[in-house]
Symmetry: C2
Subunit: 512 residues, 2 copies
């Protein structure tokens, strides 16, 4: 057994049975091992950002890490942006870049690069395998490490000779690390605070946004008068009919300050103190009022759902039904204004859908509009590096082959990882992508206005992605995905509904 | 004047007047400054790998650095692969990622990442600006640093507050650093060695591959009997009719060992000792014979062209005409076999073209077939990270608007940075792209065979990029580039010739 074979065996033994891949020469023994050791579901991406984003999406829907197979050095670099997003989402990934053979590295052949250095910025755990004999043991630890806290990125770098060398030994089955829980005192302190009745807000992040945890949070709010809110971006929120309608901290700083004004206490539940995404001249960095005290019920690595349940019991909070929100019955009509699009999306989210939201400026009204939609999971970009959407849709669809993925996607962002459409076609994934085609970096036009600039030709050109217009149906067809264009809400609604009745991916370009 | 304005003024004063951009929020003041300070030619890419690859191509054709404008953290990460290739090509780039404001960084907002850490792996010089007042001075040093040696990557990280802060001061005009030259003893030693008449080979890299340097190398070879060769991949080789036909060290290890067998002395002229691209079990890492002595006429950072001229004079080598090679008169016929494609390319390279070669396995016969083609520059991927071609074609075309760029492009590689086609359309660049559509990672099939594997379904699937087939004319049209498909050499030749008669980009998918 060579090192690569011991690696694949060990992954499978430790419950990792999906591998998103974009291999190169230094990974050929890994590829050969995937062939010889049955049981791994391998999914090819044509760009590394597709591979790493897919692993993120897979984790969000399964709470289980997938493996990646990346080419050495620059191959890893191409995957870093979506690893950054995965890290911010708390996703566990067993990230496996190949590398030059240990003895070849000193020769500084052309593709030699600082694989370890590049991995560190996104990884909680990095190890470069040193021999075929120990790759199996390294793999066991890599998988275990990817499961620490809610989940984190383990990078196991696999020099070619540690893959092809004989003497590989299958690594042990290591238990999934127990998830840390809130200390009794944390729960007691939070209960005491809430009993004081001062203006208090619970910020719910991570797995506190699953259905049961939200119900517990709602019990707490109903019993104490505390308000509930979620961070601006979240890995996975369970929402729609029968689930708690929950606002998020707005992205725009002035709006966020307004929403959080008057709060005297913020209790963090699997979340961190909310900050502005970026600094702006003469605006604060933290979004909570200066006199707001910050309390911690559960740190992000602690189990916030479990802490909420204990807190609700500690408070003796009775079970209460979550408020009902009427579902938008009808799609919007006519011209696709932001509100009409939101209404259309709300009416057409299918039962049990996975919504992958990278709608950016177009989607700011989607969230409140969809409280009453059919039950669904809503996935957001937690790291802010655009191009997360199409790959995460791949991973979510691989994770949940029985559910429809609805990818709500800004055009500018989609261009960073459009290669994911090909994987959707190859794997016949049930993904409906709606491209909001405003043909500009709309968010940046807003930011440029914030800067106080009166933009001229050069600046506008740098934010305009029309001229030439992207033709999304052609791009999709070029990668084997059927597609159509909509110019009205009625057309959008018809195409969305049609897409749900067929197998495989479909793309709709909504021209705005 | 704010920091960003001082930066743009200083770039222009120091001769940097092209900026390839893909901005985000933290760079809005930089964008606004590009607007307010006239004189910078700004070119937008829809993915950072396009931006950094374009800067590489621009440098190769001008020996002058361009600036990049990248988004913070993961934006830089998306550009690393082509910065890696640029570094290996010896290209100078003034690489400018934005970043979180200095005082916002400690808050660890979602897009905060290790910008400096990621930059180090590709940069010879990294600095994070600390105040608006000193950005101008930082910029002067960044430009000067990008010109050291043949060229290198300077990364100046621009936190948002150093861009928007007032008190900016334009930095000084710093002289381009003098290029180091070979020491007199290096030239004398090389001359003495060559006079011994033992089997000796000169390995010519970097600017030793320009027309005049090649003529000097040919004088030396004619006078001494030494053989000449080039590394496998080179930033820019001037070749075709009237220029020296020069072989390269083959990519395939066994072929390289054969070509270099019997050599007792290798003289490095702006090149490094050739290595295998990757290690393979039981094959050597260095490609020179074990008993071959390595000598250095000029290190890569020394001026190899100047050293060759001095060496030729030291040897009293008379001027000799370079050998003539007949030009392929007629394109290939019928089915696009590798030889027939090579013949077609050879017949149809236009006068004074810039050939950007990322043809990978399809193109292994192109080089010898084109010795007698019309004079042209031939650009290769020196770092081995695929996806270099379409962006480098952008940069070369921006650098040389009067010349036709012929991009010879493998399909698998093109997918990594296909967004470059949009920039070609927007800027109406005269780029003819030929996609060699074999619908697989052909090079990896060879590598898998090297591994000794008898590949099964899983392995073959990971190397097969058909199913579904990419439709390149649709992908190109989706980004505003006119395109057509060829299935025979005659069709290929017709389409190539047609493309030269029109302005702007054109793409040909050659189905193999």
């Amino acid at each position: 057994m060579n090192g690569a074979e011991s690696l694949v065996h060990t992954l499978l033994l430790n419950g990792v049975n999906v591998c998103f891949t974009n291999p190169g020469t230094s990974e050929m023994h890994f590829v050969a091992a995937l062939d010889r050791v049955p049981g791994m579901h391998c999914v090819l991406g044509l760009f590394e950002g597709v591979v790493t984003g897919a692993a993120d999406g897979y984790y969000r829907m399964t709470d289980k890490p997938a493996a990646t197979l990346l080419h050495c050095g620059p191959g890893l670099a191409n995957g870093l942006a979506n690893l950054h997003n995965a890290r911010r989402a708390g996703s566990g990934v067993v990230n496996i870049p190949g590398d030059q053979a240990t003895y070849h590295r000193p020769l500084d052949a052309p593709l030699t690069a600082d694989t370890e250095g590049w991995a560190r910025g996104v990884s909680a755990w990095v190890r470069t395998a040193t021999s075929a004999k120990t790759v199996g043991a390294d793999t066991s630890v890599a998988v275990q490490s990817a499961r620490i806290g809610h989940g984190q990125i383990s990078t196991l770098i696999l020099p070619a000779d540690t893959a092809w060398g004989e003497g590989g030994e299958i690594g042990p089955v290591l238990p999934a690390p127990a998830r840390p829980t809130a200390a009794p005192q944390q729960v007691k302190d939070a209960a005491a605070l809430l009993r004081r009745g001062e203006p208090t807000m619970l910020l719910l992040g991570g797995t506190a946004l699953r259905e049961q945890a939200l119900a517990d949070a709602h019990r707490i709010a109903a019993a104490t008068g505390a308000r509930l809110i979620a961070p601006g971006s979240n890995a996975r929120t369970q929402r729609g009919r029968g689930r708690l309608p929950l606002d998020r901290v707005p992205y725009v700083v002035d709006q966020a300050l307004k929403v959080l004004s008057g709060i005297k206490h913020m209790v963090l539940v699997g979340a961190v103190q909310p900050t502005a995404f970026f600094a702006y001249p003469n605006k604060p960095g933290y979004l909570t009022p200066p006199d707001c005290e910050i309390h911690v019920l559960a740190r992000p690595e602690q189990d916030p759902a479990e802490a909420l349940a204990r807190l609700a019991d500690e408070l003796g909070a009775p079970r209460v039904a979550v408020p009902e929100v009427a579902r938008a019955q009808n799609p919007g009509r006519g011209k696709p204004t932001l509100d009409a699009i939101a209404q259309t999306v709300a009416a057409l989210i299918p039962e049990n859908a996975i919504v992958v939201d990278e709608s950016v400026t177009t989607g700011r009204a989607f969230f409140p509009a969809t409280y009453g939609a059919a039950p669904h999971d809503w996935l957001q970009n937690c790291g802010g590096s655009i191009g997360y959407g199409p790959p995460v849709a791949v991973g979510a669809a691989v994770a949940c082959p029985d559910r429809r993925v609805l990818a709500l996607q800004a055009d500018g962002s989609a261009m960073y990882t459009l290669q994911a459409l090909w994987t959707q076609a190859r794997e016949k994934l049930d993904v409906t992508t709606v491209i909001f085609s405003n043909r500009k970096y709309q968010i940046l036009l807003g930011e440029l206005a914030n800067v106080g600039a009166n933009p001229g030709r050069t600046a506008l050109d740098m934010l305009d992605i029309g001229n030439p217009d992207l033709d999304w149906p052609k791009l999709a067809a070029g990668m084997g995905v059927e597609a159509a264009r909509a110019e009205s809400c009625e057309q959008l609604a018809d195409l969305m509904a049609q897409s749900y009745r067929r197998k495989g991916p479909f793309l709709i370009e909504l021209v705005m």
